[in-house]
C-alpha cells in the first residue's frame, strides 16, 4: 500500500492534451539561426574576418545582455550572487535562443565598416531596452534587431551604403543608397556622386561588391535560408514573396512617374538593398507580426507599399524603419481583424430589412 501511495505522488495531473507535438520555442529559434547561416557564411566570404568579428560581437553581446538582465532583474541581486550556480542553471534551462537570433540578424544588417563597439552597443540596446524591458521573449513590441539597427543609424549615422570593392573598405563621404544599386534603378539618382553598376547576377550573388549590409549582399544565401524556413514550416511561403514582389512592382510604378514604365527593372528593385533580407528574416518575426492569416496579409501588403514609397522618396536604407513602423501597427491589426469561427455565416438581417 505504501508503495502505491509513493507511486501515485509521481503521477502528473494537468489539463488535456496529455501528449504534445515536438516543436519547442528553442527548436524554432534554432531553425531560424540555421536559416541565417548561409548568409553569415557568405558575409564572411565577402568581408573576411571583419564580418566574423561583427557576428561574434553581436551574438555574444546579445546573449550576455540577456544573461546579465536575467541575473540582475528579478529577485535580490545579492541573493542571486550567493546562488550564482543555480541561477546559471535555471537560465540555461529557460534559454530559448531568441537572443542568438537577434544578435545574428543585427550583425547581418550592419554595414561592413561598423566599429566593434558600435555593434556591441547595438546588440545591448536591442536586447536590454527593446526586448527585456518589455518583458522578454514574446513581449517586445518591435523587432529588437531592427530597432538596434535604427538606433545605430541615428546615433552614429551608420548608413548601409559604404562602397566596398573586393573586401577593401573605402568608407568616406560617399553614402550610396543601399536600395538603389543597379544602373537602371537610378531614377532621379543622378544627384548621387557615385554609383556602381551591377549585373543582375552580381546583385543576386553579391559578388564581392556591395554597398549594403554584410548579410544582405548575397541573395542566393538568403534564398537558401528562405527555403529552409519554408520546408521546416517556420514561416509561410507566401509571406516574404508577397512582400518582395509587391514592393518591387510598386517601385517600378513609382519610377514610371518620372519617366517610362519599364517592367524589366522589376528584378533590380526586388533584389536590391535590404528588402529581401528584411522580408525573409525580420518581417516574419512571430512576436511582432499579426497572428491571423488575414492580419498577416494586411501586414505584408502594407509593409511592401510603405517600403516602396519610402524608398522612392528618401533614398536611404529604409527596410528597418518600415519594419519598425509595421511592428507598431501589429496590435491594431490583431484587434480589428478577428477570425470568424467555422461555419460562420454573415447574418442576412440587412437584406431582409430592405425588403
Amino acid at each position: 500500500m505504501t508503495k502505491q501511495a509513493e507511486q501515485t505522488t509521481q503521477v502528473a495531473v494537468s489539463v488535456p492534451p496529455h501528449i504534445r507535438g515536438r516543436r519547442t520555442t528553442r527548436g524554432i529559434m534554432l531553425d531560424v539561426a540555421i536559416a541565417l547561416l548561409p548568409s553569415a557564411v557568405m558575409a564572411c566570404v565577402y568581408f573576411h574576418l571583419y564580418a566574423l568579428m561583427l557576428l561574434l560581437v553581436c551574438i555574444a553581446g546579445a546573449v550576455a545582455t540577456e544573461f546579465v538582465y536575467y541575473f540582475v532583474a528579478k529577485g535580490g541581486f545579492a541573493k542571486k550572487c550567493s546562488r550564482a550556480g543555480e541561477v546559471v542553471k535555471s537560465w540555461t534551462r529557460q534559454f530559448d535562443c531568441t537572443s542568438v537570433v537577434t544578435g545574428l540578424i543585427l550583425a547581418l544588417i550592419l554595414p561592413a565598416y561598423t566599429e566593434w563597439y558600435e555593434a556591441l552597443l547595438g546588440s545591448v540596446f536591442a536586447i536590454a531596452l527593446v526586448k527585456m524591458l518589455f518583458g522578454g521573449t514574446g513581449k517586445n513590441l518591435v523587432n529588437p534587431a531592427a530597432a538596434g539597427r535604427v538606433f545605430l543609424f541615428i546615433s552614429f549615422s551608420l548608413s548601409a551604403g559604404a562602397l566596398l570593392v573586393d573586401g577593401t573598405l573605402t568608407t568616406g563621404s560617399t553614402y550610396l543608397s543601399g536600395t538603389l544599386l543597379s544602373e537602371g534603378a537610378l531614377s532621379g539618382g543622378s544627384s548621387y556622386q557615385e554609383t556602381i553598376e551591377l549585373s543582375l547576377l552580381q546583385l543576386f550573388l553579391g559578388n564581392g561588391v556591395a554597398t549594403a549590409a554584410i548579410g544582405e549582399t548575397c541573395k542566393a544565401a538568403i534564398f537558401a535560408g528562405y527555403l529552409y524556413l519554408v520546408v521546416r514550416k517556420v514561416i509561410k511561403w507566401w509571406q516574404p514573396l508577397l512582400c518582395i514582389a509587391l514592393s518591387g512592382f510598386v517601385s517600378v510604378c513609382l519610377a514610371a512617374t518620372g519617366g517610362t514604365f519599364d517592367i524589366t527593372l522589376f528584378p533590380d528593385y526586388c533584389l536590391s538593398g535590404g528588402l529581401v533580407f528584411g522580408a525573409v528574416f525580420m518581417a516574419t518575426d512571430y512576436v511582432t507580426s499579426p497572428k491571423g492569416t488575414y492580419g498577416q496579409l494586411v501586414y505584408y501588403v502594407a509593409l511592401a507599399l510603405l517600403t516602396a514609397i519610402l524608398r522612392h522618396f528618401t533614398h536611404i536604407e529604409i527596410m528597418s524603419f518600415t519594419i519598425l513602423l509595421m511592428n507598431l501597427l501589429t496590435p491594431l491589426i490583431d484587434t480589428y481583424i478577428v477570425r470568424r469561427p467555422f461555419g460562420y455565416k454573415r447574418e442576412k438581417k440587412a437584406k431582409e430589412a430592405v425588403r
Binding site: 495531473v13 488535456p16 501528449i19 504534445r20 507535438g21 512571430y286 478577428v338 467555422f342
Partner: protein
C-alpha cells in the same frame, strides 16, 4: 456501398496514433470485479436519483437510479450483488459525485427488458430511453434526446473516426460486431425517419472500411487521418460538406451524429433488451504491460482494468481516463469507469507532456491548426490578464470544442485549453 473520400478539414494535426499497441487485440471480457462504484452522473444534465436502498439485492442490468430531468439518464447495476453503500466521493472531473457501491455475490442473476421484434419508431425511442443509452463517444448526451430532433433530418452519420490516438475500442467493435452496428444504425434511422446512413471511418482502419462496404444501404466515407476528424462539426463537414453554424446543433444542418458504439448499444437494447451497463474500453499506453480492449462493466475500478492488462510495465507519468487529447488526468487508480469512458491510458515518461509553459511567441501555430478557425493565443493572452470578455470576443473561446489541437502544437507549451475553459466558465457566470 463503395467507400467515397471525405473532405479534408481546414486545419488539424497528425499526432502519432500509437494505435498499433492495441488495435490487434480482440475484445475480451473483464472477469466480474468484486465491487463496483457506479456514479449517478453518467450523462450531461442532473445526476440520476437512486431508486434502491442500501442493502438491496440487485440483478445485473437492474435499474438502480432513475433519470432526473430531460437530459439525464437511467443508471443500471453492472454486476449482480448487494448495494453496500451510497456515498459521495471525488469523481474524475474533480467534482463531488454520488456513487452506489455494489458488492458482487455469486447469484449472477441478470435482468433484461423484453426483446422487440419489428419495432415502431416510438418503441425504439422508448427502448433507448429506458435502457439509459447515452452517446458513447465521450460527451454522454442521452441518445433518446438526439432521436427527437427539433427539426427534420435527412441523414444519420455514424461516427467511426476514432481520431483520438491510442484508442482502439471502436475499431475492434466495428470489426467484430459489424452486423450489430449496422442493425443498430437501421433502428436509429427508423426512429429518426431519415433517408440515409453514412458511416465515417478514418483511413487508418481499412479493415473496417471494407467490412462496412458490404452493406448496400450504408454509405461509407473514408476520412483522412486528421485529428479532430471525429469532432461532430468536423465529421459532418467531412462526410457531407455541410457546415454547422456556430452555436447550432447538427440537426440544424439536417444530420444526427451517433457513435458506432452507441449504435451497437441500441442494437442490443432493441434485440435483447439489454440496458447499457457495460462497454468496450481500451487499456493502453507505454507504461502498461499488455494493452487490451476490454468489455468493462460501468463502475469498474481502474486498478482492476490495469491489473487485467498485465499491470504496469514502468511507473506511469500520467494516468488518463479517455483519450490523450481530451481525456482527464487522474492522480491515482482510485477512480471508476463511466458509461463514457472509452480508454484508460498509462502514459510513460516519453509519451506524456510534462514540460513547463514558457511565454507565448505569437507564432500563430495554434490558430493555423485550429479546426474551428479560432485564435486560441488571443484567448490565452486576455484570460491571463483577467479580461474574459475580450478573451471570448477576440479568441472566439465560446465556439471552442476543446479538442486540444492548439495546445498540442504550441511550441511554448501554453496551457491553452485551461485558459479557454476558464473563459467559458467566467462567461457563463455573466
Amino acid at each position: 456501398m463503395k467507400a467515397i473520400q471525405g473532405k479534408r478539414l481546414f486545419a488539424g494535426i497528425h499526432p502519432h496514433g500509437r494505435k498499433q499497441l492495441s488495435s490487434g487485440r480482440a475484445l475480451e471480457q473483464l472477469p466480474p470485479p468484486e465491487e463496483v462504484c457506479i456514479s449517478l452522473s453518467q450523462s450531461l444534465g442532473r445526476p440520476a436519483l437512486p431508486c434502491v436502498e442500501k442493502g438491496a439485492k440487485v440483478k445485473r442490468g437492474e435499474c438502480i437510479a432513475k433519470a432526473d430531468g430531460a437530459i439525464s439518464s437511467d443508471v443500471f447495476a453492472s454486476i449482480a450483488g448487494e448495494v453496500i453503500d451510497i456515498r459521495t466521493m471525488t469523481a474524475q472531473g474533480g467534482g463531488e459525485e454520488t456513487f452506489l457501491v455494489i458488492k458482487a455475490d455469486q447469484s449472477g442473476e441478470e435482468f433484461r427488458f423484453p426483446a422487440l421484434s419489428d419495432p415502431t419508431p416510438e418503441e425504439i425511442r422508448a427502448r433507448v430511453k429506458e435502457c439509459g443509452i447515452v452517446g458513447l463517444g465521450g460527451a454522454g448526451f442521452p441518445t433518446a434526446v438526439k432521436l427527437s430532433p427539433p427539426c427534420p433530418v435527412d441523414t444519420l452519420i455514424l461516427n467511426g473516426a476514432e481520431c483520438e490516438p491510442y484508442l482502439t475500442c471502436d475499431h475492434r467493435l466495428m470489426l467484430e460486431f459489424t452486423d450489430e452496428i449496422v442493425r443498430g444504425a437501421r433502428y436509429l434511422k427508423q426512429a429518426l425517419d431519415c433517408k440515409r446512413i453514412i458511416i465515417g471511418i478514418e483511413d487508418n482502419k481499412p479493415d473496417c472500411i471494407s467490412a462496412f462496404e458490404r452493406y448496400p444501404d450504408i454509405a461509407v466515407v473514408r476520412l483522412r487521418k486528421q485529428y479532430p476528424m471525429g469532432g461532430e462539426k468536423q465529421l459532418v463537414y467531412s462526410a457531407t460538406g455541410r457546415k454547422i453554424r456556430p452555436g447550432k446543433l447538427p440537426a440544424d444542418a439536417g444530420v444526427v451524429v451517433q457513435n458506432v458504439a452507441t449504435a451497437f448499444a441500441v442494437c442490443e437494447a432493441v434485440e435483447q433488451g439489454k440496458p447499457l451497463y457495460e462497454r468496450a474500453v481500451t487499456v493502453s499506453g507505454g507504461a502498461v504491460n499488455e494493452p487490451k480492449n476490454v468489455w468493462t462493466p460501468v463502475g469498474t475500478p481502474l486498478s482492476a482494468l490495469v491489473s487485467f492488462a498485465g499491470g504496469e510495465k514502468t511507473s506511469p507519468s500520467k494516468i488518463v481516463q479517455g483519450g490523450p487529447m481530451t481525456g482527464i488526468a487522474l492522480p491515482s487508480y482510485d477512480f471508476y469507469t463511466h458509461k463514457t469512458t472509452s480508454g484508460v491510458l498509462l502514459l510513460d515518461e516519453k509519451e506524456a507532456s510534462l514540460s513547463e509553459p514558457s511565454p507565448c511567441l505569437s507564432c500563430g501555430k495554434c490558430a493555423d491548426a485550429c479546426p474551428m478557425l479560432l485564435m486560441p493565443m488571443q484567448t490565452d493572452f486576455y484570460a491571463e490578464a483577467g479580461d474574459y470578455e475580450a478573451a471570448a470576443k477576440q479568441g472566439g473561446a465560446l465556439h471552442c470544442i476543446e479538442c486540444g489541437v492548439c495546445a498540442y502544437v504550441c511550441p511554448a507549451r501554453r496551457p491553452l485549453i485551461q485558459s479557454i475553459r476558464k473563459t467559458k466558465q467566467e462567461m457563463r457566470k455573466k
